[in-house]
Amino acid sequence: MDMASRNSEIKLQKGEMPGTAGQADQAQIRQVKIFMENFSVFYNNMPVLKDITMEIFSGERLAIIGPANSGKTTLLRSLNRLNDLHADFSHTGRIFLDGQDIYQAQMEVASLRRRVGMVYAVPIPLPRSVYDNVAYGPRMAGVRSRTRLDELVESSLRSAFVWEEIKDRLEESALNLSGGQQQRMCLARVLALEPEVLILDEPCSGLDPISTAKIEEALDDLKRKYSVVLVTNNTKQAARASDRTGFLLMGDLIEVGPTSKVFTNPSDRRTADYITGHFG
């Protein structure tokens, strides 16, 4: 274990995060991958995320649920600093990745985004071939060797459960793929970065049940290698495809805990109301 992650673990053991710390049912101490500390986000000085304190462990699948406009997407985009692209974005608090503050000036944003890879709600293929789409990230990182790129493209498409379907269409325009194939290609495009954390923003919102099942299958496979943070509007998907679940409501993190507990015995009434469909 490196120094940085040890630091964040010590923080955790000191119990600086009341109510959100790792649950007792975990025998070994889990390694904290990301730690959000009193993190708030403002757009035009309007609060969108309020004082979020939460950790994300290595190798877990964390689902974030909540009604529309609760700040789910903003939370995800804070983790790879994609919010920085907005002119009226500002924040307070800190986010640590392996103990390193990602909003510090010396943080290199491009390499942060390679470590924390993001899949968007709708598939956004770039207008070029499937191969060039998947190889985009590695190429930007300076990978030139064709054999290395070939390897990365194949293994990423395999991990995204789409290789068999499109292996003969790599030189075709990505725009010709079906929606489900496009979204799995977009997942592969992120996997080709060999990220440490995978963040997914409602990745199945526009997909048919079969494509959704394939993506969930891929995520289940991937959690051994990555931490996965999944934002979803579909509470059933959260229940199926996550180890822990967090509930966001109007920018507040109401609760976060093991998925089985959040769904069967939530500690907050508002969580129960949302899950049972009383609002949202």
């Binding site: 994609l82 692209l85 993001m118 968007y120 970065l193």
Partner: protein, 278 residues
């Protein structure tokens, strides 16, 4: 009295049709008229020969060369500057007073009559910088003149690239320049080419500005500092001074064909590029 929807539909379609036909008809008439009067006089000798007796006899070879030198140099200078300015305005600054001012300036420049550019070029390049009536003075003046067109068309082309493409590139660890180069410019190339084709067209056909800056020598320019006469200026002088109307129409025919050829070639290149990319 009410007009039934199907009647109004037919009236509108007929009206739009006749207007479209009228527009194209006028265009075809002008081109047809000039080609009909000019083409019979366009011979290999006319294309390859130097003018004699002020252009009454001989050909227009030096003018063809001058046109390509002046217009080519102008666009070669203006295109990179204009494209990079547009990239700066759209990708590297936030919208503010300064960008609004630059944009307003570009729009004003685009609306200034070319003779004013000619006057400026004459005072600044020809006299103040001592470049004389020369290819380089003409090219620099034309570059200034077409710069706003290139900036504005490139800007529009860049703005039309979906924001989500940029987010994908940044999200995959692309830096700003990598994103601009591999995603933004790549997707905007057809629009940028349109701007450059427009700029070439304006440069090739410009008369007033080059008359005051590039001069009207009948000699083949040997260097960038030599005076030269472009085809459109040659046409103007031939007809204005009543030297030779057949030679004037022949020159105009070559000019029209050249501009059409440049357009066709540019669009062909563009469509091939787009087909390869998408």
């Amino acid at each position: 009295m009410r007009i039934s929807p199907s009647v109004s539909q037919r009236v509108v379609v007929a009206g739009l049709w006749s207007l479209a036909i009228l527009t194209i008809g006028v265009l075809l008439f002008i081109i047809g008229y000039i080609l009909a009067r000019g083409l019979p006089n366009v011979t290999w000798e006319f294309l390859a020969d130097s003018p004699r007796r002020m252009g009454k006899e001989g050909g227009v070879f030096p003018m063809i060369v001058s046109t390509f030198m002046v217009a080519g140099l102008a666009v070669a200078l203006a295109a990179p500057i204009g494209v990079m300015t547009a990239v700066y305005l759209t990708e590297y600054t936030r919208e503010g007073k300064l960008t609004a001012l630059i944009r307003f300036g570009a729009d004003c420049l685009a609306g200034i009559p070319s003779i004013i550019f000619g006057l400026f070029g004459f005072v600044f390049f020809v006299i103040a910088l001592g470049m004389g009536l020369s290819v380089i003075s003409g090219a620099l003046t034309l570059a200034l003149m077409v710069l706003p067109t290139i900036i504005r068309t490139t800007e529009e082309a860049i703005k039309a690239v979906p924001k989500t493409y940029r987010e994908v590139s940044y999200g995959l660890g692309g830096t700003r320049w990598q994103t601009v180069r591999h995603v933004v410019l790549r997707s905007a190339i057809p629009g940028i080419c349109t701007g450059i084709v427009l700029a070439i067209g304006r440069s090739v056909s410009e008369t007033a500005a080059v008359m005051l800056t590039a001069g009207s020598s009948l000699q083949l320019p040997q260097s960038l500092l030599d005076s030269s006469r472009t085809m459109s200026l040659h046409f103007y002088i031939l007809s204005r001074e009543g030297i030779s109307m057949p030679a004037a129409f022949a020159t105009a025919s070559i000019l029209i064909i050249a501009v059409l050829a440049i357009n066709v070639a540019a669009y062909w290149l563009m469509s091939r590029f787009v087909a390869r990319v998408a």
